[in-house]
Every structure is written in structure tokens, then in C-alpha cells.
């Protein structure tokens, strides 16, 4: 044990009928992101920088539900949120309600490093972005044809989409432990298709969608409500800390016992370099690698 490790995800709850090309596209993207992470880790870049780097890749690619490619609100616009957390001191930065920031995860990082606060949202966050000089674009930049079509479907079905009949792309996340045993986690998302304006999900809420501490780093995806109610990410760390479970036991315990009827998944890794993932959904886009050469990308 020991050594670096990285895990990424592109959303839990995958349509079993998702066309092969889409499946492969997703796996290729995750594979590429894992590679980006591996190179960074091999060059001794700290965990906190690696997770930001990897999530930026995922945000920039329009395939998953973050940054460009984010799902749409009921108004047809994009409102993004993200969070980054640094295990050793449990510092964090989170943002919600972004409409023009090209890489939400980087703004979250700036909140953590350059502001006296942990969480900024909506116009206050956009103002901060402007002051920090991050790259800003029009809201249209983030909107893809795919998502416009899906919003239409969702409105016809009159549902908020967490519904396999209308497959929606997933939240993205990354957890990393570097050679020094430092854990970090980051999550980024456009939220729920057809969501109310102003709706905040689980992803940017520390302890719910994302968590990192001395012991581990966790990023979750799935039904926001279920993840919040079960404070899913914190739960993994809490059972390790207070019940003495190892990473795999913790992930297993939490997925089995904490979700009730909720559907969700997560990736997690420990300071010892172990990687685990768990989900009670049909599939979760994920990839991981460890220093000893193990690497895997999968959905089911």
C-alpha cells in the first residue's frame, strides 16, 4: 500500500440502452482524464492541484454534465456549481449559480485560496470571478444541442430529470491522493435537468457531495436529495474514523445502508493509496489508477 492514486467519475445512473458510441466516448474521456492525472502525480504535483486539473478537463469537454455540456434549468439556461476540498486541513472552496465562468472548479479554488470565505454564489460569485480575472464566456457557450433536446423532453414529461427514460449526463468528480499521502476531492456539475432557477444540489455542499480529510477523499453523484440527507461523502470518512472500517468496507457500508430509496454512487480513495467506488444505480461512469500500475475505466 501507499503511493498515489486517482479516481474520476462522470455520473451515476446510466441508461442501460445508452448507444455504444456514447459509452465509448465517455470511457475514452475518463481514460484521458486519468492519464492527465497520472502524469501530474508522477511529476509530484500535489493532490489539490491534480483534482483541479482533471476536473477542468471534464468541464471543458461537453460530454458530461459540468461546465460546457451542463444540463439546463427550467429557463433553458445553465447554472453551474463546483467544490474543491483539501484533505490535510479540510479547507474548501465552493461556488454555485455560475453562468459565465468557463471553469467553475477553478473559481472554487480561488474562493478557497483568495477569499476569506468558503462558499460564494450567484452574482457575488460572478463578481468575484470578474475581479479575479478568470476566463468568462457567454452563457450560450455552455449550452449543447443535446441538452436543449433533453430539456424539451423533460418539460414534455413534466419531470425533473433523474429518470432513466430520459438519460441525462452526469456530474463529474475526481479524488486524488498524492505521494505524500495528501487527499483531495473535487466535484463539478450543472445540476438537474429542468431544475428550478436558484436550485443548489449536493455537489457543492461540503460533507454531502464532496469531502476530503486526512484519511480519504470522496466525490459523489446521483440523486442530490438522497446524497444530502445521508451526508454521503462525510459518511464514508466518518465510518472510517469512528468505526475503524477500511476504505472498501466504508464505501460498501455507506452505499448499502445510507441511501434508503435514494440512488447514488461515489468514488473514494484513502491516504494509503487505496481506491474504491460504490453505487446502487445502474452503472456509473468511472475510472481509476494507482501507482502500482493498476488502471480501470468502466460503466457497469
Amino acid at each position: 500500500m501507499g503511493g498515489w492514486a486517482i479516481a474520476v467519475h462522470g455520473g451515476a445512473g446510466v441508461d442501460p440502452n445508452l448507444p455504444k458510441e456514447r459509452q465509448e466516448e465517455g470511457m475514452r474521456l475518463l481514460g484521458r482524464c486519468v492519464d492527465v492525472g497520472i502524469s501530474a502525480l508522477r511529476s509530484n504535483i500535489p493532490a489539490i492541484d491534480v483534482v483541479e486539473l482533471v476536473v477542468r478537463e471534464l468541464e471543458t469537454d461537453p460530454l458530461f454534465n459540468s461546465g460546457r455540456g451542463s444540463v439546463l434549468t427550467e429557463n433553458g439556461t445553465v447554472e453551474m456549481e463546483a467544490i474543491i476540498m483539501d484533505g490535510p486541513k479540510r479547507r474548501c472552496g465552493a461556488v454555485s449559480g455560475l453562468t459565465t465562468v468557463k471553469n467553475p472548479i477553478s473559481l472554487a479554488r480561488l474562493v478557497m485560496d483568495k477569499s476569506p470565505h468558503s462558499y460564494l454564489a450567484f452574482s457575488g460569485a460572478e463578481e468575484f470571478a470578474e475581479k479575479q480575472g478568470v476566463e468568462l464566456v457567454d452563457n450560450e457557450y455552455f449550452i449543447t444541442e443535446n441538452n436543449v433536446a433533453m430539456l424539451k423532453l423533460a418539460k414534455e414529461a413534466n419531470s425533473i430529470v433523474f429518470d432513466y427514460r430520459i438519460p441525462a449526463p452526469g456530474t463529474v468528480g475526481c479524488a486524488v491522493v498524492d505521494k505524500e499521502g495528501r487527499c483531495a476531492a473535487a466535484t463539478s456539475t450543472g445540476g438537474l435537468m429542468n431544475k428550478m432557477r436558484g436550485r443548489i444540489g449536493d455537489s457543492p455542499l461540503i460533507g454531502c457531495g464532496t469531502y476530503a480529510c486526512e484519511l480519504c477523499g470522496v466525490s459523489c453523484t446521483g440523486e442530490g436529495e438522497a446524497i444530502i440527507r445521508s451526508t454521503l461523502a462525510r459518511e464514508v470518512a466518518a465510518v472510517m474514523e469512528y468505526k475503524g472500517l477500511n476504505l472498501h468496507e466504508a464505501v460498501d457500508f455507506v452505499i448499502r445502508n445510507r441511501l434508503d430509496e435514494g440512488k447514488a454512487g461515489l468514488i473514494a480513495l484513502s491516504k494509503k493509496g487505496e481506491v474504491a467506488c460504490g453505487f446502487n444505480t445502474t452503472g456509473m461512469f468511472r475510472g481509476c489508477a494507482t501507482e502500482d500500475g493498476f488502471m480501470e475505466v468502466g460503466i457497469w
Binding site: R90, L205, I206, I228, T231, R234
Partner: protein, 322 residues
């Protein structure tokens, strides 16, 4: 066994406070406690009780929630709140409210009337209008004390809650003069009713001189607020410390995973947090109450079915450091 209730009006009270500032707050705590006791005695559900009590605390202009909320750097009010039902673990949260008279009630509506848990800023305000909740002009919430606090914070040029930074002497003096009020107010209430249902609610205006759009710990489930079948917790103090420590959740986790008693479980995250940053109130399903804090004081009150009741500001049972 039996019902129990605990409420707070903010941790971080300085060691001395002139009577003209202390007495109205004590009166406020007493009034809100009485409201809660009466509600529990009439068999109101814990969730309704905590909402009711926090509404009272929000309406009270001397606490940092609803009317009397501290001001952000622009001199306006941005309120947030969250509520959680221990039995179902359903929850609701709001942030960035500027016109809603009772943020906690809007949080309750988000929980009951939307498919979401958390609404913020323009979306939350729009929802408030749809729901027809009571709104007021933003100036309704602003009090002279808070205008003064903001001014002092700007003069000291810092967000008014940084205990770890050495304060320039004049600023220290100013802060002490700042009517000796809680620098880290937030209000909250936890209750267990006679059926054993637990609930928690927290509401705040946040930090003096905060950046526009800043969200703290109060609306974050697991940090400022949490309730499950074992206990209900509402925390107050320095947002960062409560967030990092996922304080409210940890109390329950310690009871569940380490078998600690309510008192032990509640003391732990408070002890672990940097001195002067955290306080909380908590009740258990069996009717116990605990109110630990590591700040010089915390406005608080509690009562249990066996007739015990308490209103306090200082006298911390846990180590305190300035």
C-alpha cells in the same frame, strides 16, 4: 424520556456586556423558550416547534437572523436558513434572501413544496413570491446596531469574526464597544417531542461585512444543521470551522458509530475546533439536552419535560480560551 427543547442566539459573546444589551436578549431567549415549551406541551410535532421558535428568533431584532441580520459589505442583508426532520431526514435550505421576513419558513416550504432541497438568491426570492410568504422591503431587516457594526468592521478592515488574527488595538477597542453583541450570531432550535420525533432549524444573516453571495454553515445540512433518529443539532460560530468539522453531522455520527452519549458526542467536535469558534445545542431522542461551546459565551436556553429550564449566556462547562 419526554420532550426537550434547546435554542441558541449565537456563540461568541464577549465576556462582559452592558445590561442594556444583555437584558433584551435574555428576554428574547425567555420568550422564545416559552413559545417552544407551550408548543411541545400541546403536542405539536418537533418540526413545527423548531420552525415556530426560529421564526420568533428571526423576528427578534437583537439576534443575527431575519430582522436584525448583520450586513454584507454592501450594507444589505442576505439571509439563509435550513431545517431538518430527524425521522424522515427530509430537509430544506435557503440562501441569499433579501425580502423574506421568515427565512426558516421558506426553507420549510422548499422542503415541503419543491422537489429540491436548497434554493438560493433570485430563485429563492422568486419561489417566495410564488408561495405568497410574507415579504418586506430590504430596509425592514436593517437595524442601527448593524449599520454601526458594519462601519466598525470596515474600519478594522476585516470580516468581523477572525479570532485568530491579532487585532489592531483600536479595532479591538471598537469591537468591544460594538455594544458587546454576539459577533457570531445565528439562531437555532432543536427539539424532541413526546413521540420522540427530532428536528433542527438554524437561521442567520451570516458574517458582518461578508462578500456578496457568501454562504456560511447555517444552510448546509451536516454542518450547521442536522437531525436523525438519534439527535438534533444546531451549530453556531465561525462558519469555516463548522463547515470543515461538519459539526452537526459529527455529533450524530459519534453517537451512532462510537456509541457516545449525547453530551460526549456534542463535546467532541466543539473541543476539536479551534478555541473560540464553535457552539451548539443538541437534544437526543430520549429527551437529553446539551449546549457546549468553546467561545467565551453563547446565548442559549433549554427546557425538558421534567420541569427543568435554563437561560444562560456564559458559564461554559468546556474549556474556554480568549
Amino acid at each position: 424520556m419526554g420532550w426537550a427543547i434547546a435554542l441558541h442566539g449565537g456563540a461568541g459573546v464577549p465576556l462582559s456586556m452592558p445590561p442594556e444589551n444583555r437584558l433584551p436578549r435574555e428576554a428574547g431567549l425567555r420568550h422564545c423558550l416559552d413559545v417552544g415549551i407551550a408548543a411541545l406541551k400541546s403536542h405539536m410535532h418537533a418540526l413545527d416547534v423548531v420552525e415556530l421558535v426560529v421564526r420568533e428568533l428571526e423576528n427578534f431584532p437583537h439576534f443575527n437572523a431575519g430582522k436584525g441580520s448583520v450586513l454584507n459589505t454592501l450594507g444589505t442583508v442576505e439571509m439563509e436558513a435550513s431545517i431538518m426532520d430527524g425521522k424522515t431526514k427530509k430537509c430544506g435550505a435557503v440562501s441569499g434572501l433579501t425580502t423574506v421576513v421568515n427565512p426558516i419558513s421558506l426553507a420549510r416550504l422548499v422542503m415541503d413544496k419543491t422537489p429540491h432541497i436548497y434554493l438560493a438568491f433570485h430563485g429563492a426570492e422568486a419561489f417566495a413570491r410564488e408561495q405568497g410568504v410574507e415579504t418586506a422591503d430590504p430596509t425592514h431587516f436593517i437595524t442601527p446596531e448593524n449599520i454601526e457594526r458594519l462601519q466598525q468592521a470596515k474600519e478594522a478592515n476585516r470580516v468581523q469574526i477572525d479570532y485568530t488574527q491579532p487585532m489592531p488595538r483600536e479595532a479591538k477597542k471598537n469591537a468591544a464597544i460594538a455594544n458587546g453583541d454576539s459577533q457570531t450570531g445565528t439562531v437555532g432550535c432543536v427539539a424532541v417531542d413526546s413521540e420522540g420525533n427530532l428536528a433542527s432549524a438554524t437561521s442567520t444573516g451570516g458574517l458582518v461585512n461578508k462578500m456578496v453571495g457568501r454562504i456560511g454553515d447555517s444552510p448546509i445540512i451536516g454542518a450547521g444543521t442536522y437531525a436523525n433518529h438519534l439527535c438534533a443539532v444546531s451549530a453556531t460560530g465561525r462558519g469555516e470551522a463548522i463547515l470543515r468539522g461538519t459539526v452537526a453531522r459529527d455529533v450524530a455520527a459519534l453517537m451512532e458509530f462510537k456509541g457516545l452519549s449525547l453530551k460526549e458526542a456534542a463535546a467532541y467536535p466543539v473541543d476539536q475546533a479551534p478555541p473560540g469558534t464553535v457552539g451548539l445545542v443538541a437534544v437526543s431522542s430520549t429527551g437529553e439536552v446539551t449546549m457546549p461551546f468553546n467561545t467565551p459565551g453563547m446565548f442559549r436556553a433549554c427546557a425538558t419535560e421534567d420541569g427543568y429550564s435554563e437561560i444562560s449566556i456564559w458559564d461554559s462547562p468546556i474549556k474556554v480560551s480568549n
